[in-house]
């Protein structure tokens, strides 16, 4: 056991601790819900904690390690959500098992979101800084706009897809069924997301990103973040590694989207707006850029907080905004950094004076 511990590098050890922590929380919550201590509204919230934690980890990969701010991450979530929900609804007759449909939907949604991340990444990652951020937002709005006018119907002849105008009339009246109904979105998706599969997916995500970040690829990604020109000059293919990081981040957002789609009773594109993207960004910034554990903890606390403190719910967004500004000023302002290091110095000196 001790040997094993020595073999593990520090980030991997940290990951193992985080996973153990998640498992302990999971078991405690299971015991609480079996004994009936946990209120049902809190119990219903548990899957939500998982998918917000997952997408926060995914966005942290993009912002914290790749160093590129994406403020359109909700769009990748929506792609995962719509792909998987459309599949689970369309294949309802072909595959009766909800679990199997959810599993295939999960794979489809994740791959689709990753694919979109890749395709969008090709043009977007050529840009830098503020331009990149605004373009991710633009893509988010475009995807939201298109999903709002997308109509997919199904009848005995197969699948019918239409844009802008509903094709409901052209469907066979007896066997026809709308799967994606424009701005009304998708309804009737089975509630397949549970706390258990949420925790499994969260742990899986954590393992994937931790191993990615600590691999050769991950070090290349961080080198690009720290100094793009220097990284390029030592032979790192900047575009390739940026694309890898961005696509994986998008795919993880897709996982969260799949879980979301199988958690809510009606799925609409308008839910995945700018506010959603900002909410996820708040989790990432509050938990600390570059800390996956922090992202998970921040997502859990900030999702639970308004539920636990009911009176707080109208101030929720306001508190997020203030937290976001305060955290940025405290962590990044040169003045604040100076102040903190001086404070640390003073503590150190005091300790030395009193041995």
């Amino acid at each position: 056991m001790k040997k094993l511990r020595e073999k593990m590098s520090l980030p991997i050890r940290k990951m193992v601790h985080t996973i153990l922590g998640i498992l302990v929380v999971f078991i405690v919550i299971q015991i609480l819900s079996v004994t009936g201590v946990l209120s049902s509204s809190l119990e219903n919230l548990m899957p939500e904690l998982c998918f917000y934690a997952i997408i926060a980890v995914g966005l942290n990969l993009c912002v914290g390690f790749l160093g590129e701010l994406s403020i359109g991450h909700a769009a990748f979530m929506s792609i995962g959500a719509f792909t998987s929900a459309a599949f689970t609804n369309a294949a309802a007759d072909a595959i009766p098992s909800v679990g199997l449909r959810f599993f295939i939907g999960l794979i489809l949604g994740t791959v689709m979101a990753g694919l979109f991340g890749f395709l969008i990444g090709i043009p977007v990652l050529r840009l830098k800084g503020d331009y990149l951020a605004i373009v991710t937002l633009a893509f988010g709005e475009i995807i939201k706009g298109i999903l709002n006018v997308l109509f997919i119907g199904k009848d005995k002849d197969g699948i019918h897809i239409a844009l802008i105008n509903s094709n409901q009339e052209s469907l066979d009246p007896e066997t026809g069924k709308m799967i994606v109904d424009g701005a009304k979105g998708i309804i009737g998706t089975p509630h397949a997301t549970t706390f258990t599969n949420g925790v499994i997916l969260l742990i899986l995500t954590l393992v994937v990103v931790t191993f990615l970040v600590n691999s050769r690829t991950g070090r290349a990604i961080q080198a690009i973040r720290d100094n793009r020109i220097a990284a390029e000059s030592v032979g790192i293919n900047v575009t390739k590694y940026k694309l890898i990081g961005f696509s994986i981040s998008a795919a993880i957002a897709g996982v969260a989207g799949v879980m979301y789609a199988h958690y809510v009773s009606s799925l609409t594109a308008s839910k995945f707006d700018f506010n959603m993207s900002i909410l996820i960004l708040v989790f990432v910034v509050l938990g600390g850029l570059g800390s996956f554990r922090g992202s998970i903890i921040a997502a859990v606390i900030l999702t639970l907080l308004p539920e636990v403190l009911r009176g707080l719910s109208s101030y929720r967004m306001l508190i997020y905004a203030v937290l976001l500004i305060a955290m940025m000023l405290f962590n990044w302002a040169p003045g604040a950094i100076d102040f903190r290091s001086r404070l640390k110095e003073r503590f150190k000196r005091r300790k030395e004076e009193r041995p």
């Binding site: 160093g67 605004i134 020109i229 101030y315 940025m328 962590n331």
Partner: protein, 293 residues
């Protein structure tokens, strides 16, 4: 004739975008940051006019003036509290903070003014123009937007070319440290830029709300992003760029919502932004930025 009337309403909307784009482009030129909260300053300004006119019964021109003053101070305050401490920090940090400020303003408005849409009062009482024997009617708001846009543009160009303060702005946007060595008050100049941009935001807000007749805490955010698109389109940092970028964007938006789909109009506008950024990142009038190691 319908094409002509679409074109004119596009120019009118574009004029509003242009005035908003000025705020983005000036701040970006000097502080090298995307002031995400600009759209929300516009929203706050509109609420000031709304409450001044409907609540306190102040005549419209005075209400607009009050709104300009409030927005000017709001802009300066935002810069001092949130952006100034981060001036030498990474651009990622500044951008996230700006998003935070935008979010804060929206939620403050939500808390104080409520989420229900307010009917914006008739502030602009210009009579409508009847052309071609009544075949083409141009609303007073439209005329006002276009005239205001042209006047503001001329005023700003003169201000930058002819006054000492304007020249100081140019110097600071070129090189902050060198400008400081020349005895220019860099902090003051940046504050002045924010003040002018935010003051213009108040005017843009009145025009925007007069056009749509509606006001919610989210009124400013999407037009704000579109105005930034316009600024990028024209070339960030360039005042004529903001003018033409705004007009083009407004025309594209109105024409695509008229001839393609009103629901897809936003998507088309953003697609234009992406294409412009990829093909000509420095915009129509911008200077290409060189990267130094």
């Amino acid at each position: 004739m319908s094409f002509l009337s679409f074109l004119i309403s596009g120019i009118s909307l574009g004029s509003i975008y242009a005035i908003m784009a000025l705020g983005y482009t000036m701040v970006y030129g000097i502080a090298k940051m995307l002031n995400f909260a600009h759209g929300d300053v516009i929203m706050i300004g509109s609420f000031v006019v709304y409450y001044a006119v409907t609540g306190a019964g102040i005549p419209a021109p005075a209400a607009v003036l009050i709104s300009v003053v409030v927005c000017t101070f709001l802009g300066i305050a935002i810069e001092k509290v949130a952006y100034k401490p981060l001036r030498r920090a990474a651009s990622l940090a500044v951008l996230i903070t700006a998003i935070g400020v935008s979010y804060l303003l929206q939620n403050l408005a939500l808390l104080f003014f409520g989420a229900d849409p307010k009917i914006f009062p008739n502030v602009i009482t210009l009579p409508a123009l009847n052309l071609f024997g009544g075949q083409l009617v141009i609303a007073g708001t439209t005329v006002m937007s276009i005239v205001a846009n042209i006047l503001i543009m001329i005023f700003l160009m003169l201000f930058i070319k002819k006054t000492k303060q304007g020249q100081a702005m140019l110097a600071v946007s070129e090189d902050k440290d060198a400008a400081m060595l020349c005895g220019i008050n860099v902090n003051g100049t940046i504050s002045l830029t924010f003040a002018i941009g935010s003051g213009l935001a108040a005017i843009a807000g009145v025009l925007l709300c007069s056009q749509y007749n509606q006001l919610t805490p989210y009124t400013g955010s999407l037009p704000g992003i579109k105005a930034f698109t316009a600024a990028v389109f024209g070339g960030i940092g360039s005042i004529p760029g903001a003018f033409f970028g705004g007009l083009l964007l407004g025309v594209i938006e109105i024409l695509s919502s008229a001839y393609i789909s009103s629901q897809l109009a936003n998507a088309i506008v953003f697609a234009v932004l992406i294409i412009v950024l990829l093909v000509k990142p420095s915009g129509l009038f911008g200077r290409p930025m060189r990267e130094k190691v």
